[in-house]
């Protein structure tokens, strides 16, 4: 199964991966990201139930690295399970087209026959045309609908409950690669309208997320404000409580928001005049630019942008890769990037098959591009995303230290794969596919 999962994971990598940036001081989130990747690829390979099984096993061995309370840990598990219980269609399968295909095919039949068993037959035939089972088609139909509401509390006026829920929200928001979220209220229309203004004013007064769009009872925010994660969550919670305390709202929903436009992820920009300026494009070059912008957002908006790649270094690295000879890689890697490959030095980059066969790749971080595997340091140079990679380098050892090697069913082998460092590419119409940056196989 692991081989199959790996193959599918590689397939996902080839289609482009999402940028994943998490606060380096939050190991819980790092842990979540890693586990989520396992489930993500398990879902891609075997469906939601396989993802859940893999994740359940991983969670059973999860020790609480941050010393946080069981409540937070429990919330983490639930969030992960909820997020992972989503089957992932291949990105070249357009979900809208799939739905129309299914529904129009169904509409060709008398409804009575649909109920009498034709439904399964329709799904089976469509599944066959896509090379998958009827169950997968069934699971994919609406799995891109963001139905889970991560924070949906009648008890939302309890600060502790709200902070705990915010923890889950920020985790999931960060995991989704988008720092925007959505709040929706239920209640009387006028109270809901007043809540929109009250929350927006309260947030603005405290330097908290900016409202980027509002539509009736739903309003969307961008960013998480400045300061530490915990402080931000508490301020958000308090502002929310303060703003809505006297409004007769029946219920408050907070959910992560990942916007899609023309099949692309839209990363919300921090500039007020261009709330959706950074639509993630489909070319790698442009994706890198968007990745930098997203990085700046992820780091709180105050960090400098990653330095541009050193062209000479990048060229040398490409030459190095092009000169690669066939053969199995060894553990070491070149220390002088301008020296060229020595006879017994690793031939970089490794092909993906070499990477998969190597016994030594588990000893360090690797970055997989579409066709090759590089040590993380090499990618720093080649991708020119120093800040990004430094950030990740700081983060990922902490992420794995408490429980490394992460034991997965059937294998203890571990490799961290950072795919195209600054790539925010994601399959069309699939927010779940954003979970593909850090992979544990």
């Amino acid at each position: 199964m692991l081989t199959a999962l790996t193959d599918d994971a590689l397939a996902v990598s080839r289609r482009g991966e999402a940028l994943r940036l998490l606060p380096s001081d939050n190991r819980m989130q790092g842990c979540a990201a890693a586990l989520l990747e396992v489930a993500h690829h398990a879902a891609a390979a075997g469906g939601g139930h396989v993802a859940q099984a893999v994740l359940a096993r991983a969670l059973s061995e999860l020790r609480d690295p941050s010393g946080s309370s069981d409540r937070v840990r429990s919330g983490l598990s639930q969030t992960l399970l909820a997020l992972c219980a989503v089957d992932l269609p291949p990105p070249d399968l357009d979900r809208t087209s799939l739905r129309l295909e299914v529904f129009t095919r169904a509409a060709e039949r008398p409804f009575a026959r649909l109920l009498a068993g034709e439904r399964a037959a329709i799904l089976r035939r469509i599944g066959e045309s896509h090379g998958v089972s009827a169950a997968r088609i069934d699971a994919w139909l609406f799995s891109d609908v963001p139905s889970e509401r991560l924070l949906s509390l009648p008890a939302w006026r309890e600060p502790e409950a709200l902070v705990a829920a915010w923890h889950r929200l920020t985790l999931a928001t960060l995991l989704a690669g988008s720092l925007s979220f959505r709040i929706e209220v239920e209640g009387f229309e006028q109270a809901s309208s007043r809540a929109v203004d009250a929350v927006a004013q309260a947030f603005a007064a405290q330097g908290l997320p900016r409202v980027v769009e509002r539509a009736g009872r739903v309003w969307r925010f961008c960013g998480l404000g400045a300061g530490g994660v915990k402080a931000r969550k508490r301020r958000l919670a308090q502002a929310l409580i303060q703003a809505c305390a006297d409004l007769p709202l029946e219920r408050l929903h907070v959910s992560l928001e990942t916007r899609w436009k023309d099949g692309k992820l839209v990363v919300l920009d921090s500039q007020p005049s261009h709330p959706e300026a950074a639509a993630v494009p489909s070319t790698l070059l442009q994706a890198r630019l968007s990745g930098k912008r997203a990085l700046r957002l992820a780091l709180g908006g105050d960090e400098p942008l990653p330095r541009a790649p050193d062209k000479a270094q990048a060229s040398a690295q490409r030459s190095l890769g092009a000169a690669r000879a066939a053969g199995r890689a060894t553990a070491s890697r070149p220390t002088d990037e301008h020296a060229g490959p020595a006879d017994n030095a690793p031939q970089l980059p490794l092909s993906l098959s070499e990477f998969a066969q190597s016994d030594t790749t588990q000893q360090q971080g690797w970055v997989l591009s579409e066709r090759a595997a590089w040590p993380i340091d090499e990618v720093v140079e080649q991708e020119g995303a120093r800040t990004l990679i430094q950030h990740v380098e700081l983060w990922y050892p902490r992420m794995f230290a408490p429980w490394s090697p992460l034991r997965l069913p059937g294998s203890a082998r571990l490799a961290v794969r950072l795919t195209s460092a600054a790539s925010l590419l994601a399959p069309k119409g699939s927010p779940r596919a954003l979970l593909g940056h850090i992979e544990v196989i």
Binding site: T96, F103, A106, A107, A112, F142, P154, R194, E213, A215
Partner: protein
Amino acid sequence: MNAPTRLGFSDGGLRVSGAPAWLAALPGARGNRASLTLPASAYASVVLALRAHGDTYVDEARAFAPLTLTRAGGHPPRGYQKEALAAWHEAGRRGVVVLPTGAGKSFVAELAIALVKRPSLVVVPTLELVSQWLRGLALAFPDVALGQLGGGVRRLGDLTVATYDSAALMMRDLGDRFGLVIFDECHHLPAPVFRVAAECALAPFRLGLSATPGDDPDRQAQLTELIGELVYEQTITELRGAFLADYDVIQVPVELDPGERRRYEEARAHYLGYLRSAGFKTDSADGWQRFVREAARTQEGRSALESFRLQRSIAFEASAKFDVLLRLLERHDNERKLVFTQDNAAAYRVGRHCLLPVITHHTAAAERRAVLDAFKAGALRAVVTSKVLNEGVDVPEASVAIILSGSGSVREHVQRLGRVLRKHEAKRARLYEIIAAETTEVGTSERRRAHRAYR
């Protein structure tokens, strides 16, 4: 000799310099005669008053000029549409026209645009309606540049369509550009966040359109203030048969199964027990709001609120309802059907089980368009939705509406009925309302049916 009065527009307000004394005394005026500020919506009355007083003035406020436009041919207006336009014209080209869904409100608006011949803004509640209006205007005025505000687009044209949200956000900057503003589904306008769209607009000519203006005197007064008086009204019952499809409304009561009944009674007893113990009376809007506000402050209150929600969801989602729905879909297999639910989750459950397309606020515009096009063409015979198709969307081919669940709102219920009333060949429309018997849903149904369309 005194300098003439000068009118200007800035930040959603009407700026007046060198104002005569009587103008400075107007309600809402701020500042002094040298520099006076009024809401932009006061523009028409200020200009008319200046003219009446014989005062000279320089109008630097409005940034629009008359247009040359001609409405393309097509069918002539119906009698009541001509009457509506005449009534609006006689009221100074300001006011609200109430016509049932399917009676051609947008046609009246096109007539108004052609009459006024000024750059016009149409304000609508949803992006779906933005697209629909743009298509209609393109057909009616093929030579006119069209603009759009909303859905990520900010493009002004001689005729522009905007969502209420975008209009509210942008009118402070753009309020001087339009001579006519049409508020479609204008019952939304009095909402605090939306009324800015009317207050910050200079537009001397205003038309409100609605099928369900509501009975709330406070909101009616606000509509009068922001748009004008109610100038014309026709009801469903007056137009059914002749201009609207004739229709039947059929209620289908279902029983909760024993397990549902037990859970329902437990949750309801818990909720009512809390109401009694805490002394709340929820038979008025104020009482309910007070309960919700206070209940959220204690663990017991929150638990009671959750029980309230549970008993309501059990009634909304009774398993027997689903069985009835399947039978209705089978019975009307060859007709175009709309299935309405109270929430998205129920809509997606129906869609998945019956392999029917679902349109909710999650559905992207392109997919909505594709689904509705296929629905109109007959490639799809049913669409499931929660609330986004309640208003305005034009699906003349739909003849059967099935209400699986809904709120107690009269407006919502009338709008849902309206989706199937558009005249199309010789169709007879049917609205089915599936209700869980001996639950609070019976009362909810009675409340939403408090409209002459259901009598």
